[in-house]
């Protein structure tokens, strides 16, 4: 076999570097938003109002019961159609469209937000009632107890799982190729189909993902250690 490694690296490399920027952008923004969405959903699911709890139980089940890939298609192609249809009034026809990247970020945010909400929810529930009661006994309000005593501990306890999700997320950005986000996979596909350097291209792609995810996993371990508190 005649493999053209240096040619493939020269040809694909610069494009992949741009792809890395897209991947990092998508991952970082989605992760931060997903963590916020997750916390919000977790709080709603612990709400004293049954209706709110019910709505978010259904929401989380829908998201967890459908593939991210399908959700991405749905957000990119279906949601704009629905919005345009709903907002059409009189003679005006709105033309709402999402850029591929923003649809991708929205999809990953919602998908991971649903999973992360379960992490936060169980972390919040696992905090000893004694912690809450000792806060209440000092004179804190319920809300202050939640904000200053329960959530900080729940977040700390969630760090290991969140770290795993972050690494999974970086790899899941490859799904965004299907809605034409020019991330790593799409760029590699394009290059490989033009040059027939299939083995080289996809091997380089795999290595780039490894280079991204391995140090990240390591960094998350360090963060985990730093925030670990013994009870």
């Amino acid at each position: 076999m005649d493999l053209k490694w240096s040619e493939a690296i020269d040809g694909l490399g610069p494009s992949l570097l741009q792809g890395v920027v897209v991947v990092l952008q998508a991952t970082i923004i989605s992760f931060i938003l997903a963590a916020l969405v997750g916390l919000l959903i977790a709080m709603c699911r612990l709400s004293k109002w049954k209706v709110i709890r019910g709505v978010f139980v259904v929401f989380v089940e829908i998201i967890r019961g459908t593939p991210l890939l399908v959700q991405l298609f749905y957000i990119y192609y279906v949601v704009p159609l629905l919005l345009n249809h709903l907002l059409a009034s009189g003679g005006t026809q709105p033309n709402i469209q999402f850029t591929a990247l923003s649809a991708g970020i929205a999809g990953m945010t919602i998908n991971y937000g649903a999973y992360i909400s379960e992490v936060f929810r169980s972390a919040i529930l696992s905090i000893d009632t004694g912690q809450k009661e000792s806060g209440l006994a000092l004179g804190f309000t319920q809300l202050q107890v939640l904000r200053k005593i329960v959530i900080p501990q729940a977040l700390r306890n969630s760090i290991p799982v969140l770290g795993n999700y972050l690494v999974m997320m970086i790899k899941d950005t490859s799904l965004l190729a299907v809605i034409s986000v020019s991330e790593l996979l799409l760029r590699t596909q394009t290059y490989a189909s033009q040059t027939f350097q299939t083995i080289e291209s996809y091997t380089i792609l795999a290595v780039v993902y490894l280079i991204l995810s391995l140090p990240l996993a390591h960094i998350m371990k360090m963060i985990e250690k730093k925030f670990h508190v013994e009870n």
Binding site: D128, E133, A137, G139, I149, Q153, V229, N231
Partner: protein
């Protein structure tokens, strides 16, 4: 009326049900300023529930609680503000594990009394000195022994300047050799005139420190009186039986 004026806490006909389970049966209690009241009794007698009703960690089913002439249950006084006057120390300490000892102590006064950091820390260090832990300000609770944790918990409660302190079996989770250091701190507080209601199994402490001892069983106050009466000459058969078992 003048009776209520002198007293810090007046509880009348307090009842608590969990479903059909009647745990507190029309209990009355009057605590005067500076008084130390110890509540003793077998487990399941309702003494911890009673204590937790005082600062409303448990909502009483009926009855009234007056704290310094304010009706605690009428809803006019916010529960969290009332609790700022009434400190509580738990059997399980419940220090905040993610905060250093000093921050455990300063958190409530900084948040609830708007004390600035420096001011709150000076006071926290004084309190730590008082409970014999002057050098432990900068460590996390996990590195402390049970007795040390409980003393930090006492300092944390004191930082809010409570007028009344509730103790819910503060030494029951401790190794026997650590009980003494906590009881010494509590005794010191009593001598300074702190008003305290203490649920305890430490009969020696109750006998020595309490002004009044209450024996509870089955959700009732069976007998109450000065410690020498309760321990020396208990009138009720139930009290005698209980003391015979524990002493």
């Amino acid at each position: 009326m003048s009776e209520t004026k002198q007293s810090m806490l007046t509880i009348t006909k307090l009842s608590k049900y969990y479903g059909k389970n009647h745990v507190l049966k029309k209990v009355n209690l009057n605590v005067k300023k500076g008084e130390v009241v110890c509540i003793i009794g077998p487990s399941g007698s309702g003494k911890s529930t009673f204590l937790r009703c005082i600062n409303l960690l448990e909502r009483p089913s009926s009855g009234s609680i007056f704290y310094q002439d304010n009706d605690v249950l009428d809803g006019k006084w916010k529960t969290n503000e009332y609790r700022q006057h009434v400190g509580m120390v738990f059997q399980g300490y419940y220090l905040f594990p993610f905060k250093k000892v000093i921050d455990n102590i300063t958190m409530a006064p900084r948040t609830l009394k708007n004390k600035n950091k420096a001011e709150a820390e000076v006071e926290a260090l004084e309190l730590l000195k008082k409970v014999g832990l002057a050098d432990k300000d900068d460590v996390y609770p996990a590195s402390l022994s049970g007795g040390q944790k409980q003393r930090v918990a006492i300092a944390r409660a004191l930082a809010m300047h409570p007028e009344l302190l509730l103790f819910d079996e503060p030494t029951s989770a401790l190794d026997p050799e650590l009980v003494g250091e906590v009881l010494r701190v509590m005794k010191g507080l009593a001598e300074e005139g702190m008003t305290m209601v203490v649920v305890t199994h430490e009969m020696g402490f109750a006998r020595e420190v309490a002004n009044r001892v209450i024996f509870m069983e089955g959700g009732y106050i069976v007998e109450e009186g000065a410690p020498e009466e309760i321990f020396g000459n208990p009138k009720n058969e139930r009290t005698r039986e209980f003391l015979a078992r524990v002493l």
